[in-house]
């Protein structure tokens, strides 16, 4: 007997592959997913909610959210959508500017592990700064539609853990609040107010995942940025020859 959720879940894959185009770097293809079970740092659950006064049903909200997903993200992150859009099994690429005003760009991505008419969920790949699970949903409460982002995350490795506590977590909280504000404004809410709930689910660090450093997108991106002038010179010399 088929379950009601058949078709909403991605199929298992041994390694990820993307159909996203336009990203300057693909640091995802060939990697595996790594959710909050496989991260290094403390585990946090962050829930962000916004009331959408006068918006349509939860299904209408989710249809708009999926269709225009990248447009609601703050400019510090570029979302390169897969060809099929937000659909189970699709992999999007991300380019993040972790330090605004600097040339450092972090290349990573997300796998859409679940998508139905009322919610969709991203899971991060190995190497992403956060081993996370991010669910976007909409639901009704007392006749009003609410949009919600719920993140379950651990910093992936010790380097990411330090960055998380030195402002990364705060930046990420602000990121999702801004995303919901942009969505609410697009849907006609003039003065959106985001409710944020942050809970530490596990204070312990998982030292057995210290080796996640080997696949760190942060290290990969730092190396790529540091070697960019050398690559530029090499390409000029080759062109002249």
């Amino acid at each position: 007997m088929q379950s009601k959720d058949t078709g909403a879940w991605a199929h298992p894959v041994s390694s990820l592959a993307t159909t996203a185009v336009g990203a300057p770097d693909d640091a995802v293809t060939g990697r595996r997913v790594a959710g909050p079970v496989h991260g290094f740092g403390q585990m946090w659950q962050k829930t962000f909610r916004v009331r959408l006064d006068g918006a349509g049903s939860p299904r209408d909200v989710m249809a708009t959210w999926k269709e225009r997903f990248p447009t609601f993200w703050p400019q510090s992150v570029k979302f390169y959508a897969p060809l099929a859009g937000i659909a189970p099994g699709e992999v999007a690429l991300l380019e993040i500017a972790p330090l605004p005003g600097t040339p450092v760009r972090l290349s990573t991505g997300v796998l859409v592990i679940y998508a139905d008419d009322e919610s969709f969920t991203f899971m991060t790949p190995e190497g992403h700064t956060l081993s996370a699970w991010i669910t976007f949903s909409a639901f009704q409460d007392a006749g009003v539609t609410l949009a919600q982002v719920q993140v379950l995350e651990r910093p992936s490795d010790p380097l990411d853990d330090i960055a998380y506590h030195l402002g990364g977590s705060r930046m990420q909280t602000r990121f999702w609040e801004d995303t919901l504000i942009a969505l609410a404004r697009h849907l006609g809410t003039t003065e959106p107010s985001v409710e944020t709930i942050v809970v530490c689910v596990d204070r312990k660090r998982q030292w057995r995942y210290v080796r996640n450093l080997r696949r760190s997108a942060t290290l990969h991106s730092m190396m790529r940025t540091a070697t960019a002038p050398g690559r530029w010179v090499t390409s000029r010399v080759r062109r002249r020859d």
Binding site: Q2, S3, K4, D5, T6, A8, W9, A10, H11, P12, V13, R32, V33, A34, G35, P36, V37, H38, M43, Q45, I113, Y114, D116, S119, F120, T121, M123, W133, T135, S137, F139, Q140, Q148, Q150, L152, V201, D202, K204
Partner: protein, 119 residues
């Protein structure tokens, strides 16, 4: 989040250190009160091994899986062990997709799970 009407039963076993939590119906993030109440009841009853029986599961979305991940972390923090039985091929695939099968032992039935927990 709306309550999906999840039904949960806590069953004792021959082994006083193990309980079975049988789950029926739909599991979403709205199932948190029902699942957590059952988890606490099992732990309060002295269980160190908790066997989640999914044979009666009809539907589970990503919010429901997120809830299982949270439950797994809480169990580990308290020195308890979570095992899963009664998963259909579809849900076994999902556990494999998200690599939850690396953290929760999967067995065909409660007897096999209890035998494994004693091994």
């Amino acid at each position: 989040m709306p309550d999906p009407g999840t039904r949960v039963e806590v069953r004792s076993t021959d082994d006083p250190s193990a309980s079975v939590v049988a789950i029926f119906g739909d599991v979403t993030s709205g199932s948190e009160p029902a699942l957590m109440e059952a988890f606490v009841a099992a732990v309060d009853g002295g269980a160190r091994t908790i066997v989640l029986d999914f044979a009666g599961l009809e539907y589970m979305n990503s919010g429901g899986i997120g809830l299982l991940v949270t439950m797994l972390v809480r169990a580990k923090r308290q020195g308890q062990r979570l095992l899963a039985v009664g998963l259909s091929d579809h849900y076994r695939e999902i556990f494999s997709l998200i690599r939850l099968d690396e953290a929760i032992g999967i067995h065909d039935d409660a007897n096999a799970a209890l035998a494994a927990s004693r091994a």
